[in-house]
């Protein structure tokens, strides 16, 4: 713009040919400004920040391998007789979709490899999105100003599962067909509109002849487009917010400490893409995934025992298994006013997933309301330093895992030679008790770790060196921490419960009282960070040999 307003200013002339091309582009789109803004942008470094990168990279690999597969896959459910080179299925009647999936596996060179790359990276994609969200939750990275990005992440998790499931069904093999059958059964249990949704989805009765084509369109166009859109939003907000950083010396909410994008961070992140690709290629080369040729074409009659859905659908399938259909002689399915309410299907299919995603989406606002904390946070919490949040997270995680384990109840039973019914009864109990136990245990462990941190900060680290003093007493020598290591252990907030405060009218209303109760529950058990005064006191206790701790004084000091 300034170039047009000052035509007489001396213009820059590049010396090399490459420079002239770069300059040509730059003069027209203004790349210099972008480079100036981002070229040296600082990114903090930590291994746990890589999960999001794994998710992004596996999505790129999904796009690449998926595009290859579309060149050979035919999503038609027309009947055909297999003529490919896999002899056990020669002349078997099957759909064109299944037949072309077999052709990709056996008659397209590298086709099997691409199928396996695609399936493995799909599994890895959902897994890395999930683990990334766990990391964000447990470190409190969802706090202001990142609440909206947390929600975008939740949408991405749902979309990644949708992408996985629509793709899983495409080969039209026996296993995925049974998966669709279960989906159909769940849809039919929806009150009022269930039967219509089922008929509209399958274009008539199950399985019909259109479902694969419809899922194909969702799988290769709509869902990936939405994922791409969400990823753009997600990364845009990462740039706006800049990355969070772990607590430590020199790090605070006003700065970001790490490596500049160019060259170190770009090299590490860029190199990591190739590493993710390499690992997926190794898995695809050596570990068979979804051997559709073993299952045969879809047929509503046969089913094999011990079959499992892809892992991310497991928790819904497990919930379906856990729900009893009859309690005593009372049927959970009810007929009211002449209409059927299949609570035995409806409740497990919708309620646990509904609770998990509702809590997931609203948690940043719940915590913000309880803590009244409206500050921006760019320094992460170590999970131990937010014991109640960590405990809530673990309770949810254990709940999920119980349901997930239930999806393999038959395999657990056959593998460990126990009764299938007993496995189910235990898992039903754990469904209710597990999260409670997880909450209590996690909170205690977090508090214990905080106390440990405190002790190390005040008394130094155990060296393992036992010294005998002249008067016969044995002591273990403790080495004091340097100030950087100590700051990592003491530089955190430990909020205490925030009592109910009157509102603008000077009244403490019911909502505020409830908030105060929750705040008490949240922050009641706390370990305050060690203070310089305490450190001085701890050292003063020992007189001259301040690095040395006697067992006795340790006892008196640790409380």
């Amino acid at each position: 713009m300034s170039a047009t307003s000052t035509p007489n200013a001396p213009t820059f002339v590049a010396k090399t040919k490459g420079g002239r091309i770069t300059n040509f582009v730059d003069e027209r789109v203004g790349g210099s400004g972008i480079l100036r803004e981002f070229g040296r942008k600082v990114f903090p470094d930590h291994w746990s920040f890589m999960f999001g990168e794994v998710a992004l990279y596996s999505f790129v690999i999904l796009l690449l391998s998926g595009t290859f597969l579309t060149f050979f896959f035919d999503p038609s459910m027309a009947e055909t007789h297999y003529e490919g080179s896999y002899t056990p299925l020669k002349n078997v009647e099957m759909s064109v979709a299944y037949s072309s999936s077999l052709d990709i596996s056996f008659d397209v060179r590298g086709g099997l490899f691409m199928r396996q790359v695609h399936h493995w990276s799909a599994l890895l994609f959902v897994a890395s999105v999930s683990v990334h969200m766990l990391r964000v939750f447990f470190t409190g990275a969802f706090r202001k100003p990142r609440e909206m990005n947390w929600v975008v992440g939740g949408v991405l998790l749902i979309l990644s599962m949708a992408a996985g499931f629509t793709g899983y069904s495409l080969p039209d093999d026996l296993l995925s067909g049974n998966g669709l059958r279960i989906i159909d059964g769940v849809i039919k249990s929806i009150p009022v509109v269930g039967t219509y949704i089922s008929f509209f989805l399958f274009g008539g009765e199950f399985p019909g002849t259109v479902i694969i084509g419809r899922l194909y369109m969702l799988h290769i166009l709509l869902v990936p487009a939405l994922i791409l859109l969400m990823i753009v939003l997600h990364l845009f907000m990462v740039v706006v917010h800049k990355h969070t950083q772990y607590p430590g010396p020199g790090r605070n909410d006003g700065n970001v400490v790490g490596y500049p994008l160019g060259p170190v961070y770009a090299a590490k992140a860029g190199g990591f893409f190739f590493i993710v690709f390499g690992v997926i290629a190794l898995m695809a080369g050596f570990f068979t995934i979804n051997p559709i040729w073993n299952y045969g074409p879809y047929d509503p009659s046969p089913v094999s025992a011990g079959t499992q859905p892809d892992w991310y659908i497991g928790f819904v399938d497990g919930a379906l298994r856990l729900m009893p259909g009859t309690i005593g002689d009372w049927s959970v399915e009810q007929v009211w006013f002449g209409q059927v309410f299949s609570f035995n299907v409806l409740l497990p299919a919708l309620v646990p997933a509904g609770i998990i995603f509702t809590v997931l989406f609203t948690y940043p606002w719940i915590e913000r309301w309880i803590t009244k904390d409206n500050r921006e946070h760019h320094v992460l919490d170590r999970p131990r330093n937010a014991p109640t949040r960590t405990a809530i997270g673990m309770a949810g995680f254990v709940w999920y895992c119980v349901m997930w384990a239930a999806a393999g109840s038959d395999l657990i039973a056959t593998h460990f030679h126990v009764s299938l019914n007993d496995v189910t009864y235990w898992l039903r109990a754990l469904f209710f008790v597990g999260p409670v136990i997880a909450f209590i245990v996690t909170k205690r462990v977090a508090l214990a770790l905080q106390r440990k941190d405190r002790e190390i900060a005040l008394h130094g680290r155990e060296t393992g060196r036992i010294v005998r003093l002249p008067h016969g007493e044995f002591i273990e020598v403790h080495a004091p921490l340097d100030e950087y290591k100590r700051y990592k252990l003491v530089g955190f907030e430990s909020p205490s419960p925030l009592p109910a405060e009157p509102n603008a009218h000077g009244v403490v209303d019911k909502k505020e009282k409830r908030r105060a109760l929750l705040s008490k529950w949240f922050f009641e058990d706390r370990v305050a960070p060690a203070t310089p005064a305490e450190l001085a006191a701890a050292h003063g206790h020992h007189g001259e040999h301040e690095a040395i701790e006697s067992g006795e004084s340790q006892k008196t000091l640790s409380h």
Partner: protein
């Protein structure tokens, strides 16, 4: 860094300060001093790292070659064995892995060993400045003012109405995604056609079953005669009509009133479609007379007319009334007397219609 080093600015009445009597805190000592790496001080070590990076990039080239050789040298003819395909797949995987990991680890090693590892601190800037906020509010106010939408409620309201209704065609246009369900789920192929009873046939070859073939303790997977001859919609019919046929000692069956003649000589037929979410109930435990669904482990007791004794299913499996025709073949005397498979909203209504 100063007083804000603990990450708790004291200006917003925060939790961190509430209830704490302004206890003195440790001061942030700042970023730890930079420690030099071996490659920073020892030129030999730097040279070594350089060679290692080059070696890793070289490995990548080898991987690419492995891939190309495996792709072109292993030919998938018409009679390829599974072993050949596995070998090719493994080599393609190995080649790609080397090609990618070589580049990836090479770059990362280069970054870690040779590029500067000084940690840099950068200021964060406010996401929104008060200046911008006020300017934005002014702009929005001006825009709203210029449209005059507040002064002309007629325009606003008619626009809202039009916009609210406009998406309706977009919903309606999906009406042809599928036909109306009507009572399609209530009927199966087992209904006698023109007075002719349907024979029970073996799944999948479709040969009819003679009562004499069914010995005590045996079980058959059954489809209706004529299913395999259907062209279009064969799987749809099969998804409703599949049946399990078993023969027990007649004494161990306890038919309820009205169902005494639904079996023949201890031979009974039940729908194979689970009443839970529709998986085939494919496992028959001969000793206990239990039927088990492998998907969600619903268990049905044959001796109690397939009542649910375990698992998530709520209703017994529907029984198909059977008899023997003049030639000794098993036939269905009627269609199922209730809809088969998973429950749905109108199911009870359909059942009442069937029995009316």
């Amino acid at each position: 860094m100063g007083n804000h080093s603990d990450g708790s600015p004291n200006h917003s009445g925060t939790v961190a300060t509430a209830g704490q009597n302004e206890v003195e805190k440790f001061q942030d000592p700042g970023i730890p001093p930079h420690r030099l790496r071996l490659a920073d001080t020892d030129p030999k070590a730097a040279k070594r790292a350089e060679r290692q990076v080059a070696l890793l990039f070289g490995t990548s080239v080898v991987g690419t070659l492995i891939f190309l050789v495996a792709y072109f040298a292993i030919d998938l003819g018409d009679d390829t064995s599974i072993a050949t395909i596995r070998l090719q797949n493994a080599l393609l995987g190995l080649g790609t892995a080397f090609a990618m990991l070589g580049i990836g680890t090479g770059i990362v090693h280069w970054a870690k060993a040779l590029m500067p590892d000084h940690e840099v601190s950068e200021e964060r800037h406010a996401i929104r400045t008060e200046d911008d906020r006020q300017a934005a509010v002014r702009i929005v106010d001006d825009i709203v003012e210029e449209t005059g939408i507040k002064r002309r409620p007629l325009i606003r309201n008619t626009l809202l109405g039009a916009v609210a209704l406009a998406p309706l065609p977009a919903v309606a246009i999906f009406g042809d995604l599928g036909p109306r369900p009507d009572d399609k789920l209530a009927h199966t192929m087992w209904a006698p056609q023109e007075g002719k009873l349907k024979r029970l046939a073996r799944d999948p070859d479709g040969t009819p079953i003679k009562a004499a073939d069914v010995t005590i303790g045996s079980a058959f997977h059954v489809i209706p005669e004529g299913l395999n001859e259907l062209g279009e919609g064969k799987l749809n019919e099969k998804a409703k009509a599949v049946v399990l046929l078993m023969r027990l000692n007649p004494e161990s069956l306890n038919p309820s009133p009205g169902r005494e003649d639904w079996g023949y000589n201890g031979i009974v037929a039940y729908s194979k479609i689970c009443t839970h979410v529709g998986c085939p109930v494919a496992l028959y435990e001969q000793q206990t007379h239990h039927l088990l669904c492998p998907c969600h482990q619903s268990t049905f007791d044959l001796t109690q007319e397939c009542k649910v004794i375990f698992g998530p299913a709520s209703r017994p499996l529907p029984q198909l009334p059977i008899a023997v025709d003049a030639e000794g073949y098993l036939v269905a005397t009627s269609d199922f007397l209730e809809p088969v498979g998973p429950s749905y909203w109108e199911r009870d209504e359909h059942e009442r219609n069937i029995n009316a």
